[in-house]
Symmetry: D3
Subunit: 136 residues, 6 copies
């Protein structure tokens, strides 16, 4: 019996969209207001979904507390109240689009979960724009 368990959390961060080897003009045209040199920001909402076989004895797929803890350590402590471009190693060279942030989060959490568990992340940049990544 395969089941999915999800945990929703959030972090607040500043970012700007910019491709380092593009001209200022090209970046401005392509990314529009998201390219603002002084940054803007978001309340990011994150849903982490783990899928696998339920443990018949406990009725748990995974201890939610463990899931909560690894999301706190690997995502919240790293991203919350930060400037993604300046403060977060992962985005020193990688453009912090919602797509890339989701992929980075997936890669961080993937390492903390047993191989038999599947992982999906949904990242809301706003309640109107969101991305989903499952590593496939």
């Amino acid at each position: 019996m395969e089941i999915s368990v999800s945990r929703k959390t959030h972090f607040n961060a500043a970012h700007r969209l910019n491709v380092a080897h593009w001209s200022e003009e090209k970046n401005k045209t392509f990314f529009g207001p998201c390219n603002n040199a002084n940054y803007h920001g978001h309340n990011y909402d994150l849903i982490v979904t783990v899928t696998g076989e339920i443990d018949l004895e406990t009725g748990y797929l995974i201890d939610m507390k463990y899931l909560k803890d690894i999301v706190k350590e690997d995502v919240e402590d790293r991203f919350d109240h930060k400037n993604l471009n300046l403060d977060v190693e992962d985005f020193k060279t990688l453009n912090p689009t919602a797509e890339n942030i989701a992929i980075v989060i997936w890669q961080l959490l993937r390492k903390r979960l047993e191989n038999k568990l599947k992982l999906k992340v949904i990242l809301y940049e706003t309640e109107r724009n969101f991305v989903e990544y499952n590593g496939n």
Copy 2:
């Protein structure tokens, strides 16, 4: 690396559920209050999801502004503040159930996206009733 990007939008419209070749009685029994001859209405919420390979240079799957623009042109301008049965060509003969509205929206947007991109739409008639269609 396949990723999904979603955009949430909304439109307000009137409609009634009615099968043209059925008797008044049969329509009333089958569709209940949704068959009211004078129409009723909804704030429809729409989530459009596009899936494909991320562009490694920009970190974008698709320009959200383009997605926003085609949803405005093909859905909002066509459906918002309209009577779906009377004002919208697509529902002159097709019953505007949530299912059919979702399919029509999917067909309209499918034409505006490159073939390599997958498309899914979720249409909320209310926050308690919603449908999902991905063309398969």
Copy 3:
């Protein structure tokens, strides 16, 4: 000890904004797409708030079930799945703006509550537009 108790409910209806003694042109200019002759519609959310002295024996201000019942009888049964302009007596001559709908609902519920209780209604036409009326 004065306390307020609120109940949230909802109804789906069609309407159009139109002043009967104005010209078609003037109505169209003033109300824009809300004037569409074929109507449009909304999922209206309604919050009814009653304020008064708590009953020290029961710990209730008012029986929520009674509040739920009068809202069902006087608002939902009258407005839900209706065309406000055509099906609802109150709007035969009164323009069904959110403001007027809120006032009509307040007047209907005011009659069902003891005089010592205060009444306020909040009506959401969409989650972005809403009105509040308390009879003062």
Copy 4:
């Protein structure tokens, strides 16, 4: 043309997490505050999703009223304002984790739907923790 139709509903219940054949100590350590002997509770939100071929004549996948009725009979009437551990037969021996509640709901509703329809349930224990089960 395969489409999915979803209905969101809710019930309020008390529960505690406990494995009958474990020691008090082990249960307390494993389930933490969720093991509180006097129970705690939740407003559970439930999304039931049915997938299948649309009926081309009516534009319905399934009559939403039927879906609403079976969810009321099999879920709400059974679980709402109940203590899951004490009042609900299904959890006399089964630990009422969100995972197990979702599986029980799925099994109850599966019997009420035609075989050609697929069924998925999403159960929110809180808006931050939820599970999904589709019988595979």
Copy 5:
């Protein structure tokens, strides 16, 4: 310049509505399913609002962290994952209606705030039922 600052938080608890000196029959009739002897439960949402003069130097009315901390100490630690009737001193004799819970929370927090600050609490028992108390 008077301003209000609000903090939203939540706790999950079991309760039953019951007046100790009433007969079983009377309690059952008056409180209906909320009287279930085995309890039911809710995810309570709480909004605490503090009103007063802004500090012109810091631009703060009150340090949100202090507000967060006293709500954690006096409300969350006391009520979360508890049975209100059995585990919480305040409701040993007081019926834990939403009204009474809001009043108890207000009284607990009132002691932690300077006199010059006004206090209001809004307690959501569900997203459809909520109460508001400001001590007047």
Copy 6:
């Protein structure tokens, strides 16, 4: 008949909390992670509420389109996708706490409304933290 009409809108911005004439150490201690020198950010939600006498002919308190337009001009165009500290004149010397942002927005919109109308703004920094200001 006095009624209130509200419009909800939003903007995304970066900011940091900092008192210019305080030492780096004092700012860091007082504002914690909100003082991060590289900024962080939020999706701010704004509710603007106007109160006054309803126009009996139109059933409007105020033309929602006018309200929407002045919020766009005076708030969204000024704050959206900006760094409040660096890009917005109002916060060159004023600390951009939620309280101060709400007061600045109130002062900007106050000038655009007739004197007979009352104005209130609610600013959500996150869905858990918000402030309210009405000029009194």
